[in-house]
């Protein structure tokens, strides 16, 4: 092949690289002509459909039993029911269809061909399967409410319960109490405008959940923070619904592609310590936030509590080996309609980290499909260093010890005033706000970054009218933990009793404290 002029010489152009290996016959059955190319491998329609079911079961079934299987495969006996988190997107729709086919409708074409312990002649694996949908339209101006469409969509699947929630339920005390949360007498608000995140009691007549939600979102510093917060709120709503429905497992429709996006964007936002949780996690509620767990409405239905009153929800993503393209092909060939989701945008908002990451990964998948699965595979080999110090009060994930010390070491802070006016400044800071409790020590690194990492330019918020409320309510699970912490300060020793307080120290005072440690390098 020459590198000549393509117009004159037809052979001058390099051959386009084929998007698949070897022949275009199916790599599995080797007989039929291929219908689909997945990461350079060719599959015929039948083999492809079986492959997706196989990958789904392979990712989910080892997580069903409370303890992993020993040398012999045991029957599937989960500790509780199943909750399917449904967003209306492609992955969720495929997940719901597969869950229904494999475990409810008992579609024979999805069963392993041999008899075996999982054969439908035995009782069903999941006694109760519930679908939970969280409507987020109230968080974004002008977004369409899809609850009705979703309700109609899930009717296709008989024998499944449906629980529709709204994103503002995260700020709704009546929802919290209904699901068995411990009520808190008064709300504590946080001042998100100040990076110190001071806490203060809110007047007892607090705003309705929708207003609280919008005030919270408007106080966030970046569009990235808005997206991250809605994702966190949704996840916690689903987890608490899992408790309420006696579910030991929560399954989400995260595809391989979506997982790559969330892993990368999570690391970019400082959530590297929780990189394993992004794929699979075990969540237990903080005991002090719930009314004795036996009071949770469906706790007795089919759920076994291991230790006394201790309930765990295992979050599994069975489609984590199934790429976005495979999900689309499955949905098309299996006749699964997809309701869809809308983009989370508002006037003047620039794309956040999650959106930029998704655009990048989707583009990467088109040109270099193997890289996306490499990302997930590599991330699955990572284990974070560092000790766990409790659970983050906002996102419920393990928090790393020493977050604030690390941040203080790497940050450039405001300098105290010039030496000339030091005396006045010291006097002022000493008389300033009495020591105030802060949200900071309760937060993991990424939640703290989400709330405090500001851009140089002020950014438009989704709800300008609610912007800059001095104090905002926090999600109900956060309120419950804070209120329990304050209650216990007066009572007996409790590991959550300490509410750390911070204040700015004047330069002289600081020098006085460290003086004895300073080296004498001046005469």
């Amino acid at each position: 092949m020459s590198c000549g002029n393509p117009v004159a010489d037809a052979n001058a152009l390099m051959q386009r690289r084929k998007k698949y290996d070897k022949t275009n016959s199916c790599v599995k059955c080797k007989v039929t002509q291929g219908n689909l190319v997945i990461r350079h491998a060719v599959y015929c329609k039948d083999c492809f459909l079986h492959l997706v079911v196989h990958k789904f079961r392979r990712a989910l079934e080892p997580t069903v039993n409370p303890k992993p299987d020993g040398p012999r495969r045991t029957a599937l006996k989960p500790a509780g029911n199943l909750l399917v988190g449904f967003s209306g997107g492609l992955g969720s729709s495929v997940l719901l269809d597969l869950v229904h086919r494999c475990y409810v409708a008992l579609d024979k074409s999805t069963m392993p061909s041999d008899g075996g312990r999982d054969h439908p002649r035995h009782e069903r694996v999941w006694k109760k399967v519930t679908i939970c949908y969280v409507e987020v339209c109230d968080a974004f101006p002008g977004m369409r409410d899809r609850t009705e469409e979703i309700t109609q969509h899930v009717k296709r699947y008989d024998d499944l319960e449906f629980v529709p929630l709204r994103i503002q339920d995260a700020f709704d005390r009546s929802w919290w109490e209904k699901i068995g949360g411990k009520s808190f007498p008064s709300e504590i608000g946080a001042s998100l405008a100040d990076e110190a995140l001071f806490l203060q009691s809110l007047p007892s007549t607090s705003a309705d959940p929708l207003t609280s939600l919008r005030a919270y979102l408007s106080s966030l510093p970046t569009p990235t923070a808005v997206t991250a917060s809605i994702q966190t709120l949704t996840r916690l709503l689903l987890l608490h619904t899992a408790l309420q429905t006696g579910s030991s497992h929560l399954v989400l429709g995260t595809s391989l592609t979506s997982l790559a996006v969330s892993l990368i964007s999570g690391v970019a936002q400082g959530a590297g310590f929780n990189i394993r949780e992004e794929t699979q996690e075990e969540w237990t509620p903080e005991p002090e936030t719930l009314m004795g767990l036996d009071h949770a409405p469906d706790a007795s239905e089919g759920s076994k509590t291991g230790k006394k009153g201790k309930r765990t929800v295992r979050v599994v993503r069975p489609l984590r080996d199934v790429g976005m393209k495979e999900c689309a092909a499955w949905a098309w060939w299996s006749g699964v309609p997809v309701v869809g989701k809308e983009k989370w945008v508002w006037a003047g908002a620039k794309p956040g980290i999650a959106t930029l990451t998704k655009d990048f990964i989707v583009g990467l998948e088109k040109d270099y499909p193997s890289t996306v699965s490499t990302i997930v595979r590599t991330c699955s080999k990572l284990a974070p260093k560092g000790e766990v110090s409790g659970k983050c009060i906002l996102c419920g994930r393990p928090a790393q010890r020493g977050v604030q010390e690390w941040k203080a070491r790497i940050s450039i802070r405001d300098r105290p005033p010039a030496p000339g006016s030091t005396e006045d400044a010291t006097a002022k800071t000493a008389d300033a706000e009495p020591l105030q409790p802060s949200l900071t020590p309760y937060l993991c690194y990424s939640c703290h970054t989400t709330l405090t990492s500001k851009s140089a330019r002020p950014l438009p918020s989704p709800w300008p009218a609610s912007a800059q409320a001095p104090l905002v309510s926090l999600p109900v699970w956060t309120e419950a933990r804070l209120s329990s912490a304050i209650r216990d300060v007066d009572g007996a020793e409790h590991v959550h009793a300490e509410i750390m307080q911070t204040r700015q120290v004047g330069q002289d005072e600081m020098k006085g404290i460290v003086d004895e440690f300073l080296l004498d390098d001046q005469e």
Binding site: L13, V37, C327, E365
Partner: protein
């Protein structure tokens, strides 16, 4: 030989919203279209063709532009990007992945069924 080709086009995964909210379309495209410079061999012209410009058999690449110009009602950037379909759109030709048929270079035949499925669903 007919001068046009009839095709059945289907849109899924939310793409139909860009095409008058209609999932199924029947379209007719010319059998031969102008060859863009340098990328394809010129075919022998059918007798009686006055136009001296080189022509090529109509292919998927052309169809994508044709759809943009004739059927697409809005938000062109959600369908087409860099001269081809936007990343995240799956294209099936007679129920087979277009990657098996040479993508944009696949030459359309009369009665072909082309499906465009968006995997992004607006999100």
């Amino acid at each position: 030989m007919s001068a046009t080709i009839s095709l059945k086009i289907e849109f899924g995964g939310g793409l139909e919203l860009l095409f008058s909210n209609q999932r199924s379309h029947h379209v007719t495209v010319p059998a031969f279209v102008p060859a863009s410079s340098g990328t394809a061999k010129a075919t022998a012209l059918p007798a009686g063709d006055e136009d001296g410009a080189p022509k090529r058999p109509v292919d998927l690449a052309y169809l994508i532009f044709w759809l943009r110009d004739n059927l697409l009602k809005e938000r062109e950037e959600l369908f087409i990007e860099n001269g081809t379909v936007r990343p995240g759109i799956l294209v099936l030709v007679n129920d087979a992945d277009w990657e098996l048929e040479g993508e944009g270079e696949y030459q359309l035949k009369d009665g072909d069924e082309i499906v465009f499925i968006s995997t992004l669903h607006g999100g």
